[in-house]
């Protein structure tokens, strides 16, 4: 055990790979990785065995620095494990446990190496003890680095999920619906920031062209706060629609929003109505339609006369 530190780590791992594997697997099963049912035992077994194999190879090639190229494959494998766990909804602790639960089996392997040396007696014991500190440091450093890598990938995966949901929400929440020939409605829900305004405007203008609409009703019932920026975004959308030859009506202005806008000094230079129904009535009048009460149609009498 007198060689460099990584040599002794590599030796210990190579000599006790099977024990490390079974201890590691047992620890993970104990910690409840399987209990949630999100991963099968066979899958976990394959993951563990494959990872231990690439870790041993990396160590054998003389590295204890996780950033070294020899651990490239180990990192790739962790990236995969972490990504799939992130997608499956594992907690950060459960994900990190994959690497960190490897520590105890690795230290146990060291203990066995020292015990083996002790049975030989003499100088071998002293050499083994001297190597202990370095071995501990190497293993800790390596596994910590790999653990951090796992967490980084895990967080990145989660961030990707959040970003995707954000995009989905901004698309979902800006539908343009056709109320009648030439009459569109755009029910806005949530915060109207610059990015969403862009999506809204594009959707609206495209639908105006597709449906050759004359009137677009922008309903802001679902917008909780109308400040000057929101008002400005609304005005821009209205102006763009006008350039396309469509008139806009803003509806869904609640009493508290109306009062606040007056205090702010915002003037919406556009027809506005309290409810979508009122706005629809105005729109129908403008295109020369009216809703009239139909004469009651008697249901045809059933059966024979």
């Amino acid at each position: 055990m007198a060689q460099n530190g990584s040599g002794s780590v590599a030796q210990a791992v190579a000599a006790h790979q099977d024990e490390i594997f079974s201890e590691w697997l047992a620890l993970q099963m104990e910690s409840g990785a399987l209990r949630s049912g999100r991963i099968k035992e066979a899958e976990l077994r394959t993951q563990c065995r494959a990872f231990l194999e690439v870790l041993r190879e990396g160590l054998a090639e003389g590295g204890t620095d996780a950033d070294a190229p020899v651990f490239g494959r180990a990192k790739e494998m962790l990236t995969e494990v972490s990504r799939s766990r992130g997608m499956q909804g594992f907690t950060p602790t459960e994900t990190a446990a994959f690497v960190f639960s490897l520590k105890r089996p690795m230290f146990n392997a060291l203990n066995r190496a020292i015990e083996a040396a002790a049975s030989e007696g003499g100088g071998a014991v002293r050499a083994a003890s001297a190597a202990t500190a370095r071995y501990t440091w190497d293993v800790t450093l390596l596994l910590d680095q790999l653990g951090l890598h796992t967490m980084e990938v895990f967080l990145k995966t989660r961030e990707e999920v959040i970003a995707r949901q954000g995009r989905e929400i901004s698309e979902l929440s800006t539908p343009v619906v056709k109320l009648w020939d030439g009459v569109l409605a755009l029910p806005l829900i949530g915060t109207l920031d610059s990015e969403r305004t862009q999506v809204v405007m594009e959707n609206l203008l495209q639908t105006i062209v597709d449906q050759s609409a004359e009137i677009a009703i922008i309903d802001i019932t679902g917008v909780p706060t109308v400040d000057t920026l929101t008002a400005q975004h609304l005005l821009k959308t209205v102006a763009a629609a006008r350039l396309m030859g469509a008139d806009c009506i803003v509806s869904g202005i609640r009493p508290q929003i109306a009062q606040t806008m007056v205090h702010l000094g915002v003037e919406l230079d556009v027809t506005s109505k309290a409810t979508l129904a009122d706005a629809f009535r105005v729109a129908l009048t403008r295109i020369g339609r009216a809703v009239v009460k139909a004469p009651r149609v008697e249901a045809p009498a059933a059966g024979r006369r």
Binding site: T191, D193, S194, P224, T225, V226, D227, T228, L229, A231, Q232, P255, Q256, I257, Q259, T260, H263, L264, G265, V266
Partner: protein, 134 residues
């Protein structure tokens, strides 16, 4: 809810968070719907000013009470370039950016108390308060 809390304003998501926090405070102070909307809108304007003109900063949100009335006090602070002419900045239609130029004056009209302390190079501090009118 604690008496005072400080929130960073670094992105437009933070502006949304400030609005939500202020609304929660206003509801807790028993504000009616109109008063809630007014203080939330004022907070939104000032938070965006802090972000766009002050280059980011922080807001201190306080629940206050005085003589049996309850209210919300907000203090926006940034270390930005400051405002050379405060009076001009409060005028409607004055803007250095591309906004409507109504934010600062508007938020003054939406609040019961309004104080601004700013000078070029010293950053800006705006304090507003709104009391429960019920």
């Amino acid at each position: 809810m604690e008496a005072a809390a400080v929130f960073e304003i670094r992105s437009s998501d933070d502006v949304v968070r400030v609005r939500q926090e202020v609304r929660a405070r206003a509801v807790a102070a028993g504000f009616g719907l109109v008063d809630q909307t007014k203080i939330v809108t004022a907070a939104s304007e000032l938070a965006r000013n802090t972000l766009d003109h002050g280059g980011g900063g922080a807001v201190r949100v306080e629940s206050v009470s005085q003589g049996g009335r309850r209210g919300v006090r907000l203090t926006f602070e940034d270390q930005g370039p400051g405002i050379p002419d405060v009076e001009q900045a409060l005028k409607d239609g004055f803007t250095t950016g591309r906004g409507l130029g109504l934010g600062l004056g508007g938020s003054k009209r939406l609040s019961n108390e309004f104080a601004i302390d700013s000078a070029p190079g010293r950053g800006t501090r705006v304090t507003i308060a709104r009391w429960n009118s019920r």
